[in-house]
Amino acid sequence: MVEMNMAKAINLALHEAMERDDRVVVMGEDVGPDEGVFRVTEGLWSKFGEKRVIDTPLAESGIVGTAIGMALYGMRPVCEIQFSGFDYYSFHQLECHASRFRNRTRGRLSVPMVMRAPYGGGIRAIEHHSESREAIYAHTPGLKVVIPSGPRNARALLHSAIQDADPVIYYEPKAVYRLFREDVPEKMETLPIGQAQVVRKGKDITLVSYGASLRPTLEAAEILEEDDGVKAEVIDLLTISPLDGATIVDSVRKTGRAVVVHEGPRTCGLAAEIIARINEKVLLYLEAPVKRVTGYDVPIPYFSKEQAYLPDADKVLSACRETLSF
């Protein structure tokens, strides 16, 4: 076991993946000598050289489009979009091609690529550097969307993403990059994509979250236990597409109450889908409406006020108490 933060853990996974599989290439803006604006590609360029660690021109569609070509040719490109707020520039390449080639060619061709991007707020960045629009990718058939919440699962999931036969959007909660450290095993490990984790057992209420929102959610769960003697079960989705409905549904069947927490906008966000799944499978077990603690339907404000936009333990706490006393 080695203790490290999430940025380091993702960096470790990239080193490991490039060592074990020379089809893996890393590409993006400033991923080379600069080692990424968050240092996530540290040491890669000096170790693997500019043929496999590629500083690209400043063009997101170019990055994703050429990565698709490389993947079609048998490489395993891991491309980085510097901030998720700029991946709209390449969305047509993902929707029209990365997500469709296997289906279009009846399985003859596939696009085993990973698109990494730091997402979310909380680091006092300028406009367009704090977006959380993972729902757009969850709404795009043919893609998988993975969002880690800590160093250990970040490293394991990135390996799974790189090894996956299909394109994976890997969103990195940038506020968590250096927020805390965690033990990561020496031995390389993976985690199944499409499987959520119950990270806290409980019987009274189900809290569903992922990425950066997981921590305030867990914080709230602890306060609930201390102050209210309520045992909350907390689910960390880890993959938001394909969504692990079963784990959510099983928990709600038991607790009858749920709160969903994410920082992306509310309308048509992940919480909506989760509520729809709960409604379809365990409606009659519900003792209260499922509450949403999410970003609001406005662009995340400039950083002087971003904290008011983001879900925090207090918001989750109030939502839980309202749900419990419904």
């Binding site: 569609s61 990565a67 070509g69 079609l72 040719y73 009846r106």
Partner: protein
């Protein structure tokens, strides 16, 4: 220092076999008779298949499709310069070239008749399928070329786009990436002077598309796109350069879309028939046929025999395709779930079961309610 002009590379125009089949001997490429015959054969096959598809479309036996007639010299002249190990990344008017690369007529018919199976790249063929989102395929071609460089392979990629496609941001990004990474990609621009109804003059204001190469520091040339020898010569030079690490080339092939944009388009709305008639006379097949005849490679008689034989091939391919379309494998709607991911996710399996149940119920029911299968013809899109 006063105002000082910088040195710029040359952009040339190239024509070898002109519209009267006059040959510029000095520039005539060396292609053996068998090769010349093969090139003509696939140009003719493409032409006849295209014409047959038009009839089928009029009979309601084929969907809307973009006609390829008139673009055969560009497709065959360029594709003939690469090997099976090289890659071919078409747009959607490369019918002749795709058939040459190993796509079956059946697939072409199935593709334009609404079956994904028509886009399944044949085993052993290093092609991408037809690409509908304009210009997006150029980045795939560039990525493939970048991968070839990374792997130190001496292969090349031949890719295609139109004069309208030249306006898309993806085209700029593809040319720049290919240039920066010296990817072995030959960019063939089919400048047929129209993007559906939009003429070149509304698409751009530069005299040639070839001169855009200057902005990427790569070689650029404009060739007569109805002159298969000129296309071949320019492509061959570019392929050799790319294969030897010389990076990408932009080849603009000037032609004219003598057909409607697609079977749903009506050119009378936006251009004169004279203009079209003028270009009809420049037909790449007529010109090439004369050349082959003069050269004693293919007599008129042989040409007619070839045509009869190809027509027979096409006829049976149509029958095969229509048979295949009825097969359980192709006809079953449930297959829409089977190829999206390597393994189908649980929630998607549930959706498949949902549809399966629905279809079963429907079969077993007398009173059926479905969306009108056929729409009035005029709702068909014209693009």
């Amino acid at each position: 220092m006063p105002r000082k002009p910088i040195e710029l590379p040359r952009i040339e125009l190239l024509s070898i076999l002109d519209e009267n089949a006059e040959l510029d001997k000095a520039l005539e490429p060396k292609i053996d008779p068998a090769g010349l015959k093969e090139m003509y054969r696939f140009m003719l096959l493409g032409r006849r298949a295209d014409e047959r598809m038009l009839l089928l479309q009029r009979q309601g036996r084929m969907g809307t499709f973009p006609q390829a007639s008139g673009h055969e010299a560009i497709s065959m002249g360029s594709v003939y310069t690469i090997t099976k190990d090289d890659w071919h990344v078409p747009a959607y008017r490369e019918l002749a070239g795709m058939l040459y690369r190993g796509w079956t007529l059946e697939q072409m018919f199935l593709y334009w008749n609404g079956f994904e199976e028509g886009a399944r790249v044949p085993d052993g063929v290093n092609d991408l399928p037809v690409c509908v989102p304009i210009a997006s395929q150029l980045l795939h071609a560039t990525g493939i070329g970048m991968a070839m460089r990374i792997k130190n392979e001496k292969k090349v990629v031949m890719t295609y786009f139109g004069d309208g496609a030249a306006s898309e941001g993806d085209t700029h990004e593809a040319l720049n990436f290919a240039s920066v990474f010296q990817a072995p990609v030959v960019f063939i621009c089919l400048n047929n002077q129209y993007a559906i109804s939009v003429p070149l003059s509304k698409q751009m204001r530069c005299e040639t598309i070839a001169q855009r190469a200057i902005g990427y520091g790569i070689p650029g040339i404009r060739v007569d796109g109805n002159d298969v020898l000129a296309v071949y010569a320019a492509a061959k030079e570019a392929v050799e350069r790319a294969r030897n690490g010389g990076g990408p080339t932009l080849i603009e092939c000037l032609t004219y879309r003598i057909t409607p944009h697609t079977t749903a388009d009506d050119p009378k709305r936006y251009r004169s028939d004279e203009e079209c008639q003028l270009w009809m006379k420049r037909d790449p097949l007529l010109r090439f046929a004369k050349y082959l005849e003069k050269k004693g490679v293919l007599s008129e008689k042989e040409r007619n025999e070839m045509e009869a034989e190809l027509d027979a091939t096409i006829k049976s391919a149509v029958q095969n395709a229509e048979q295949m379309a009825k097969s359980e494998e192709l006809a079953n709607p449930l297959n829409m779930f089977d190829y999206l991911y390597n393994d189908i996710p649980q929630s998607l399996q549930e959706q498949k079961d949902e549809l399966a149940q629905h279809l079963a119920k429907k079969k077993s029911k007398s009173k059926v309610h479905v969306n009108p299968q056929k729409q009035p013809a005029n709702v068909l899109p014209r693009a």
